[in-house]
Structures are given as structure tokens and as C-alpha cells.
């Protein structure tokens, strides 16, 4: 059995030009047509033999175990770097492989192979079955083709886009950044796109396939002042076709980035110690992603190590605090149609008006905790087995006016954007590095200050949120937990009382 030919192939550039001449690109607007077009491109496209996959799953459970799974992946990616005015490099990636997983009690066995053949899959199934030796087993259900609703729409598929179009988008961002201010001495534009095709088949009889496009566009600009420099950053990302750039303009991203680089050249030393912090809407939501989201992941709850163990149904945060993980937001960076275990994506309210109501789970932790599957089983690639991960995670919209939140804060810090941070899920202690931050003096945003660290503990911070705005917004990012995952984080403007700020001067 060879699956290689099965996957939708990327159209070579020459082929693209032919297609566009015939109006093929316009036709390609509907995925079904695209598929048939592409199928024409690979005339010999064989069908996956479901019975072959059944055999692998049966083999995986032959020693014991209650869940067996085959995951097959194929990924085409492009990375182009425009920096210092030059298209410095272009990187094309072809990656494929398959993983076989066996769950038995609390145990996971996993093996993967780059070569997708019946022989290698059977071998992987043998290795994965090691953990289940002697355990009780289930009889796998024969797989049957299934489908899920789609939250990702594509108008102009990435496979059909000529490289010239990609370069043009990058150049627009590069030029806009340099034109913003003479003190912008360098712009770095990183363009990434991929199409990831998945096949998921398991012993519960599930069989799903889809193709997920992804765009990730990173602008960095270097502002150079008389005695300091600052590197700004702005990112755009969606699961989408190239039409993303019609809505999220590369020039706007570049100007936002350049503005940060210039403003921060005037930054003074940040104060140190505890103070009130107002966080602007958007990517700042990464603070609750880290501080609250990770501790709400079912794996550390099942291990009974997490800070929220035993707190389900209890009041953990201020009344104004509602937190949601929603993998169904159309085309968002954290969205997929179903997670990497095939579970339908959902909107999960995790904390409602301060009360902890739900944990995020994958198949294993849902079973361990006897809770529903929330569609949070994700993996970086076929080289990893799925673990509990967030999707698009945010503080839900509140009722306060963002301007009033600032105006009613006598002194403190206004955090316009954060770089990122991390949390210890056991203790709930988190840290964040600010990108763009200002002093608040008498209810007004005043002097920019150097990127300070914010630290605190999860429970303190969610109990200390006393104002939540009505201006919910999001930003894209990468979440690391041994494996990388694409996520979005969001929040309206919020105020947190008494966070420890790592500035370099005493107040």
C-alpha cells in the first residue's frame, strides 16, 4: 500500500500559469472543483484502501489496549525571507509521514514513519502496541468515511498562487515599513504558507480527511535612535487562501510594526514593583492563555498536579471574568475543522462569570477525567502524538468602556502589546515580556517605558481583574508545550490590580 499519490498535490508554477490562462483559477474557487482539477493533475491518484487501515488498527490493538489510531499527514510549505531589501532566501518543504498510537489505561504507545507503506505502518503498530502488552483489549470498529462541518473557507487556494504574488505582498510590507520613518533602518518580512493534509482513522470507526491551508506573515522593523534601538514585530495569520491579504493589508501590518519601533526609541526606564496594569485589547490575551489556559488543560488535571485541581464548579476569578476556548472561529489561526484526533471543534466556556465550569481535553484526558471531549487534542506533526492544546483562547467581551477603564486608573502601566511569556502550570506562576508599554498618570497614557516583565500567579491575576471592556480583539501566535501549535489569543481591554512589574528603577 502506498498513499503517496493520494494527497492533493501542489500545482507547479508552470501548471498554474496554464490554468490561469484557461480561467482555471476562477473555477478553483470551490474546493470540490479544485479537487477534481488537481485530481486531473495526478491522473493515477489511488484511493486509500480502508481495509489496509483497518488492518493496521487491528494490529495496533493485537497486544491489548482500548484505542488504536493511524494519523497520516502530508505538508507542502513555503518560507520566503525579504530582509535588508533583498529576497534573501526561499525554502520549499515537502513533508509526509504517519503515526500509529495505542492507548491502554493511562499509557500511550506511539511510533511514526516517514515512509507511508503498509509494511512500515504495521511495524509502527507493533512498536506502539508495546505499552499495551497483556492489557485488556477492545475489538476495533471498522472505519467508515465521515465528515465534519468546516470552519475554514478558501477563495484563492495557496496551491494556485504564483510566487510573484507572494513577493509582491512582501514587498508592499517592506516598502511601507521603510517609508514610515527615516529612523526605520531595516525591515524583515517573513512569509510562510503551508497546506497540511490529514487522514485520521481510529478503532472507534472514524475516518476523516481534510486539507488545511495556513498563512503566517511576520514583519519586524528595526528603529534606530540616538542612543538606543528597538525591534518591533507584527504578525498576521489565518487558515485561509491568499485572500487574507485583501482584508489584513500587509502595509497596515508594516506601519503598526514601524510605529512600535519608533515610539519605543523614546522609552524611559520602567518602574519596579506592584502596580495596576491596563492591557489593551488583542494579543494581550496571551497573558490568560498562559496564566489560566495552560493550567486548564486536562492533562495536568488528570495528573492532579495543576493549580485548578479540585476547583471545578468553584469560584476562581472575579465576576467579570469569563474565559473561552473556541476552535470554530472562522479561519482563525487556532481554528481547524476537527482536532488532530478527529474530534469536532467546539466553543468551550471554561470560566463563566468567575466560576470554573470546564477543562479542555483530548481523548486520553477526557477518558481519565470522565469528561466530554472538547476538541483540544492537537499535534505539531506526525512526529508527535496529540496532547491537550488550546485553539483560540480569550477573555470574553465585558460591558466596560475601554476609555473609562483607562480614565479611572490613577497610576500604573498601560500595556499596548506583549511579546509572549510562559507559565508553570503546577504553581500557576507566570511571566510576560511587554513589547510596547506606557505609564498611566492620572488616568492618561503618558511616557513609553522599556519592555518590562510582568509576573504574578494565575489565581491572583484572575481575581484581580476588575474591569473588562467591550472591545474584544485577537492576535495570532505560536504556543510551545514540547510541540509547537498555532493559536490565537484575545481579550477586550482589561484592568488587573496589583501585578508585579520588573522595571529597572524604583518608583
Amino acid at each position: 500500500m502506498k498513499f503517496q499519490g493520494y494527497f492533493v498535490e501542489d500545482i507547479p508554477r508552470r501548471k498554474f500559469l496554464e490554468l490561469s490562462l484557461k480561467g482555471g483559477v476562477a473555477l478553483a474557487a470551490t474546493p470540490a472543483l479544485l479537487r477534481s482539477l488537481l485530481a486531473g493533475d495526478t491522473a493515477s491518484r489511488p484511493k486509500v484502501d480502508l481495509e489496509d487501515l483497518n488492518r493496521v488498527i487491528r494490529h495496533a490493538l493485537s497486544q491489548g489496549g482500548e484505542f488504536g489510531e493511524v494519523y497520516i499527514e502530508h505538508r507542502i510549505s513555503r518560507t520566503i525571507l525579504l530582509e535588508e531589501g533583498k529576497f534573501k532566501s526561499a525554502v520549499f518543504g515537502i513533508s509526509q509521514g504517519a503515526g500509529v498510537r495505542v492507548l491502554s489505561g493511562d499509557k500511550t504507545g506511539y511510533a511514526y514513519t516517514d515512509e507511508i507503506s503498509q509494511e512500515k505502518l504495521i511495524r509502527a503498530a507493533e512498536v506502539a502496541s508495546f505499552v499495551a502488552r497483556g492489557a485488556k483489549t477492545v475489538k476495533p470498529v471498522n472505519i467508515k468515511v465521515d465528515s465534519r462541518p468546516s470552519y475554514i473557507t478558501v477563495k484563492v487556494p495557496l496551491q494556485t498562487v504564483a510566487d510573484e504574488k507572494r513577493l509582491e505582498i512582501m514587498k508592499r510590507a517592506h516598502d511601507a515599513a521603510l517609508a514610515y520613518d527615516a529612523r526605520i533602518k531595516m525591515a524583515s518580512i517573513n512569509y510562510y504558507d503551508e497546506v497540511r493534509s490529514r487522514v485520521i482513522a481510529n478503532s472507534e470507526g472514524l475516518y476523516l480527511t481534510d486539507d488545511l491551508p495556513l498563512l503566517f506573515f511576520i514583519v519586524q522593523t528595526l528603529g534606530v535612535g540616538s542612543n538606543t534601538s528597538h525591534m518591533g514585530r507584527e504578525r498576521l495569520s489565518r487558515h485561509s487562501g491568499i485572500e487574507m491579504f485583501d482584508e489584513l493589508k500587509p502595509e497596515d501590518a508594516a506601519r503598526t510594526c514601524a510605529r512600535e519601533s519608533i515610539v519605543m526609541l523614546e522609552a524611559k526606564d520602567a518602574p519596579a514593583g506592584k502596580m495596576d496594569v491596563v492591557m489593551q485589547n488583542g494579543w494581550g490575551g496571551v497573558l490568560v492563555h498562559e496564566a489560566v489556559g495552560h493550567p486548564l488543560e486536562g492533562d495536568n488535571i488528570a495528573r492532579e498536579t495543576g493549580v485548578f485541581v479540585g476547583k471545578l464548579g468553584k469560584k476562581v476569578a472575579s465576576d467579570k471574568f469569563t474565559m473561552v476556548d473556541d476552535g470554530t472561529l472562522p479561519c482563525f489561526r487556532g481554528t481547524t475543522n476537527y482536532d488532530d484526533e478527529g474530534t469536532q471543534m467546539k466553543r468551550s466556556v471554561l470560566i463563566q462569570d468567575g466560576v470554573l465550569v470546564k477543562f479542555m481535553t483530548d481523548i486520553l484526558s477526557a477518558k481519565q477525567l470522565k469528561m466530554e471531549r472538547t476538541g483540544n487534542g492537537r499535534r505539531e506533526s506526525f512526529r508527535n502524538f496529540p496532547i491537550v492544546r488550546m485553539t483560540n483562547t480569550f477573555i470574553d467581551r465585558g460591558k466596560d468602556n475601554p476609555d473609562d477603564i483607562l480614565a479611572s486608573t490613577k497610576s500604573g502601566l498601560y500595556v499596548q502589546s506583549l511579546s509572549g511569556g510562559s507559565v508553570n502550570p503546577t504553581t500557576g506562576v507566570f511571566n510576560f515580556t511587554c513589547r510596547e508599554v506606557y505609564l498611566i498618570e492620572n488616568g492618561r497614557k503618558t511616557t513609553p517605558v522599556k519592555g518590562a516583565t510582568l509576573i504574578g500567579s494565575c489565581l491572583d491575576v484572575i481575581q484581580g481583574i476588575d474591569a473588562v471592556g467591550d472591545d474584544l480583539d485577537f492576535g495570532p501566535g505560536i504556543c510551545g508545550k514540547g510541540q509547537a501549535a498555532e493559536v490565537a489569543a484575545g481579550q477586550p481591554t482589561v484592568r488587573i490590580r496589583g501585578i508585579n512589574v520588573g522595571g529597572s528603577r524604583a518608583r
Binding site: D106, T113, E115, T228, S229, E304, T433, S504
Partner: protein, 444 residues
Amino acid sequence: MDYKGLAEQLVKKCLKKGADAAEVYIENGRNLSLEVRKGEVETVEEAASYGAGFRVFLKGKMAFASSNDLGERALEEAIGRAIEFAKITTPDPNNVLPDDMGMTEIAGLYDPQIAQIPMEQKIDLAKKIEQLAMKDSRITKSDGARYGEAEGEVVIASSNGLVKSYRSSACSLGVSVVAEKGDQKSSGGEFCGARSYKDLKPAEEVAAKAARDAYEMLDPRPVKTQKAAVIFHTDVGYALLGGILGAVNGERVLQGASFLGKMMGRKIGSELVTLVDDGTLEKGVASEPFDGEGVSTQKRLIVEKGLLKGFMYNTIVAKRAGVRSTGNASRGGFTSLPGIGPHQFYLAAGQVKPDDIIKATKIGLLVKEVTGYGINPVNGNFSGGASGFWVEDGRIAFPVKGLTIAGTADEMLNGIEMVADDLDLSKRMAAPTFRIKLLQIGGE
């Protein structure tokens, strides 16, 4: 499989398809990782994998493609993609491949015995370290013990006639535990890595460290926001080294994006600051006979007694700067172009004992954990979260958590006034215990 032969053959194929110059980078290997919790195996993961990366040059333009399908059709496809892709990049006379035919001799990078040790023995080792870490009554929960191993081969061939390969192996062992007291939770973890199974640190030592890191942080007390001496424990040297690494990256220097860019040959730290990058250490966890594009590795002084001595370069950036590659081409695997990175990067050991530093400190913070991004390589600003111990009158007084420390690279490097002799090179970035005269500490 003869990967060297395959690599040479693929270089020819790149040239035949139209490249002026080409490099083929092949990796193949296998890995095993397992995790034990509460005395039971929780995960076992095993795989063998491989892949090839093609860097092609076309009239000074450069592009790259990779494939982990080594079938003939897929390789043809990848090479074709690389050549097509090269047409869209900007030509640059600095886009060249290295012609270094040499290789640094380094003993002890590969231990063929690892694969021969039965799986049961490795599982038992992980079970043992977990048990040892749970021994102390203050430790209430296990967050798992892990054993991992990997071995593989790197092959590089290029149209400059270079053909090189080497094998290496690595093992790691670690454990994480939680100490609880009332509502308090404190976590601790430790791991060690080595080229060979038999060179792993004793399980007793690693387990004891993990447990101690957890329980000794119970009952922390608050301290006031103030300026005081800060002692960096050997666990947190990376907080100082990471940002410097970014700032000695030759490409960032050329771009004007390094706070050290104009400091070559000048004083950037106290006399006690000597920073070394060593790719040649026997059995070294970061050693390799040649870098990510085939240039022989070296041991270099980056900072000597406070004077900045060298930046790090790969071949292309070195040519642009008008110098020779320093053997610092780093590669994130067969899927990426060579960047610039360190080998073993460390602050050289001093003379005093770590205890002497504490004894000599009237008031200060001994940091055992630093969070955040470390020193910003662009402007040298530093701010991080910190936990550790408060030191009073030359003795450890009590644990502290939730503090911040901040300053600039200049204050930190020039403020280093004591360096201990406890350098441990089992981690890629390492520093002995050292004390910085004065940093801003944020607390109550």
C-alpha cells in the same frame, strides 16, 4: 544505505538540473523516548526517520528545498522546486558555499552501545529516578520521569567537492516532582544529558536536585522593592548568556541590530568575564566535527577578560563581513537553511567556591530561576521574573518567589564581581555561580 554516495549523486543531479552550485544535507537517525509516572510506563515513543535538504545557487541567487521522502520521484521534485524557487530570490555575491575540506577530530560523540541496552533497563532507570525523587516526605506528587535517546548521522556533500559525515548519539534522563504544604505548591525538575548512556549523571544526584528544587522553595517570604547584589545560581546562567549570543551573531551585527555591534576589541564586561564558544570538547553535548554547512568547528574566545574578541559567522555572513567563517553555521535539521548559532557557550569558571560568594554577600538575592527572554540582543535591556533565596549577612535567610530583576547588559556584565569554580558543562549554555554588584529587584 550509503547516504554519502546518495548525497554526492544528488549534488550532481542539482547541477544537471541547472544549479551553478549545490549542497546536499542528509540526516538519518532514530529516537526513543519514554515517560514513567507513579511507577508505571506512561508513554513510549519510538521512530526512525530521515530527510534531505537541497541548497542551490543560480547566478548568485539562493533557494532551498527539503523532502523526507527519499524516493527518486520525490527527490527530483524537491530539487526542481529548489531551482524554480531560486529564480525569485535576489542575487548576492556573498552567496557561496564553504570549501573547507577538514574536520575537527572529536572523541566520544557516538556510542553504538546505547541501542544494545534493553528497553526494560531504560524503563527501570526512569522508574528508579522517579522513586528516588519521591523519597523525601515533602514531595507529594510526581510529574513524571523521562528517559530519551537519539542517534543519527549527518552527511553533507557539495559541488565544491566537499563530502563529510559523522555519527553522534545522545541520552537524557530527567524527573519532575511537586512539593505541597497546605495550599502551597512548588515544583522542581532536573535533567541531564550525555553522549553515552554510561556518562549520564547518577540517578541519585539528578533526583535529589529535582526534589530539593521543589521543597526548598516552600514557605517563601516577601521582600521589598530595592537595589541589591544578585547572585546567579549555575542553573540560570542562560539568562545572561542568551542575549549576548543574539548580540554576537555576525548577521545581527551587520544589520545594526546588536547592542555589541560597535564594541569589537572594547571592554564590555569586568575582568572576570571570559566567554567561550567550544565546538570541540571531547564527549561534549554541543560538539560536532563540522558545523551545519561543513566548516570545521573550533574553540573560540568571544569575550576575554572583559574585552569583546569575536562575533559568530557562517560562510555567507562571513563573506559579507570580509572575514572567515567561524564554524558557527547552525542547522535546525534537514528542513532548514544554515543560520548562525553557538556550540557549547559558557562563562569561564573563576576561583572561589559558590559558598564563598554567599558568605561575602551582606544583602542580596540568590536567583535559582529566571523567566522571560533574558537580555534583549538589540538594545541590551534586561528584565525577568526571579525566584530563589534571600541572602542576609552571608547566609541564606529564606526562599523568595514572584520577584523581578532588571537592568542593562552593561550593568550586568560590568557588575560581575565574583565568579565561582562550579562550571558544569553538561548543558549547552552554562555558567558557574556569579555575583552582580547591584540590580533593581521588584517585590512588595
